[in-house]
């Protein structure tokens, strides 16, 4: 298996490849090429339109939506739904708009919870998995390959399989509906993170390290002062991927953290859906809440998009 997973392409080789693709002799514009671009354009529209529709609905007056308005711009454009999702609208305003729900989304609390959970998971995973990855990539010790193989096997276990025993464990430890309980299974390691970083550490030249050893530097100092600074790019990529994965996580926090104080955004959104009336549902506030839940990821992606797109080569498979 490991021989089929190549280390991810670095941005440099990617860019070089892109350059050589551009350098290829340009073929004459032909109908095939125009057709191909048309298909590509259609794909981009299909991908982006639902996000536009989410935005458009979030800004619409709910009463217009319930009447069946399908205008491309938001009918009766308003910020009230966003205010409601953020918990800033008054009860009278909500009643006037007819968008009451039995469960308030408590957006800021859920946002805070998501940020706490994702930050803890990301910090823990990046630190502990980079330590493990360094040991697997660089240190010699008995049983190294066997332990690494075990870690890899854990990557194949479907999450639902460990969900039940982990739930019992967290419950017996009295950690249900606490942040430590939600964070615990992801805090110390995920097999993917160890595997991902090991691939990069294997690629770092040994010579620098050997010079440091001759100077009498210990392994910990080498790791902290040489390896970590040299691996800023892959560490950032892993941190972002970890953060997004944690942000999107649903099944585990639903099981161990479905109470007001600790609900993360995905679980809070589901609670909001459950508290929504079936007749004339308040689609506009609901879409506002989903938009707000997706927004941090979209912003993160706008800032770090290139790095992440480049990272989704073969190391991106999970």
């Amino acid at each position: 298996m490991s021989d089929t997973i190549a280390p991810s392409q670095t941005p440099a080789t990617e860019r070089a490849a892109a350059k050589s693709a551009r350098a290829r002799p340009k073929r004459d514009l032909n109908w095939g090429r125009i057709g191909a671009w048309a298909v590509m354009g259609l794909l981009l529209i299909i991908t982006l339109f639902p996000f536009y529709w989410m935005l458009r609905t979030a800004l619409s007056t709910n009463a217009e939506l319930v009447k069946g308005s399908q205008t491309i711009t938001p009918p009766g454009a308003t910020l009230l739904n966003l205010k409601q999702a953020l918990g800033l609208a008054s009860a009278q305003e909500i009643a006037a708009a007819g968008t009451e729900t039995s469960a308030d989304i408590n957006f800021f609390v859920a946002l805070r919870n998501s940020v706490i959970v994702c930050t803890l998971i990301t910090i823990g995973q990046v630190i502990f998995c980079s330590m493990a990855a360094y040991a697997f990539a660089r240190l010699k010790f008995p049983g190294r390959d066997k332990i690494f193989f075990l870690y890899l096997t854990a990557m194949m276990i479907p999450p639902v399989f460990t969900l039940i025993p982990n739930f019992v464990l967290v419950k017996n430890l009295g950690l249900l509906n606490t942040f430590p309980g939600i964070v615990a299974p992801y805090f110390l390691m995920t097999p993917f993170a160890v595997f991902f970083l090991r691939q990069f550490f294997l690629g770092i030249s040994r010579e620098v390290e050997e010079a440091a050893i001759l100077d009498g530097a210990g392994r910990w100092r080498i790791f902290r002062q040489l390896i970590i600074p040299m691996s800023a790019a892959p560490l950032t990529t892993l941190a972002v991927l970890t953060y997004i994965t944690a942000w999107n996580e649903y099944m585990w926090p639903l099981v161990v953290g479905d109470s007001d104080g600790v609900r993360v955004l995905t679980v809070a959104l589901n609670a909001f859906r459950q508290g929504t009336p079936t007749i004339a549902p308040p689609w506009a506030p609901l879409m506002s809440a989903t938009l707000l839940a997706a927004l941090p990821i979209i912003l993160l992606f706008l800032v770090l998009g290139r790095r992440m797109v480049d990272a989704i080569g073969f190391s991106g498979i999970k």
């Binding site: 990617e14 490849a17 892109a18 090429r33 590509m40 794909l43 299909i46 991908t47 982006l48 639902p50 529709w53 989410m54 939506l65 069946g68 399908q70 502990f128 330590m131 493990a132 360094y134 040991a135 240190l139 010699k140 010790f141 332990i147 854990a154 479907p158 399989f161 460990t162 969900l163 039940i164 025993p165 982990n166 739930f167 019992v168 464990l169 017996n172 110390l188 390691m189 097999p191 210990g218 392994r219 910990w220 790791f223 999107n248 649903y250 099944m251 589901n270 459950q274 009336p277 079936t278 549902p281 689609w283 879409m287 839940a293 990821i297 992440m308 797109v309 989704i312 073969f314 999970k318």
Partner: protein
Amino acid sequence: MSRETKAAALFLLPSFIGFVVFYAYPTLRGIYLSFTDFNLLRNSGEWVGTRNYQAMFADALFWNALWVTFKYVVINIGIQTVLALGIAVLMHRLTSSVVIRGILVLPWLIPNVVLALLWMWMLDPSLGIVNHYLNTVGISSQAFLGSESQVIPTLAGINIWRHMGYTALLLFAGLMTIPKNYYEAAALDGASEWHMFRTVTLPLLRPVLALVLVISVVGSFQIFDSVQVATAGFGGTPGGPGNASRVMYLYIFQQAFEFYDLGYAAALSVALIVLLVFVAAIQLRLLRAGESDLA
């Protein structure tokens, strides 16, 4: 113990604790639980031998869950792979623009829960934009998530929409490893695009394609979030209409956390893991994933 071994032990310690406590131990405990009648309310259980497994084989809902999941996987993977391959080849031919790749991969980054709610709205039988557009071209409104025959294809469609760009990117990375001169040689011979795709791209991409297929099939068997959210409507229970979308993950989840029958749920998840190993092994064998035609 050598100095290096001691250092390694310290470096490995935190992750090893995580591995033992949250991967190895629960895996063994899950297998053990499947032979007990562990109940969540009692928080205890007795050894019952293979009773859960016997019950499972006699359980019509278990077979239903398998069948529903199987239908979902076939539709999802079949269409998604063809589309992703097409998109990857398109990108390879037209552009390696980061913006285009970024847009195509965007849905994959957004939480499933968010997308499930969004598609619930867009596919709403009376107010949804999709039915509105269907009506304008003369097709009557469809129930989609509310229809027994349409719910699984609809969920597969949502997932295809979410994953096609991401899968295309993986395949695109594979296409970049095919040496250019193969195409140049084929072009000199006057080969058509389709001919080049069949004789150059497909055979050389095979190891990558095999890996992507195995991973997406295994992932596809694990659909949960979107079913749990999108098939429940407002305030309803997920898995419907009837049992039409009660996939394996959802059935395991409901046995464990709605009926509190952890022992039975554990037996179901053992069955799922056996099935997944079996499916992955068959695929790797059929696709000869380990060999490369490039070597």
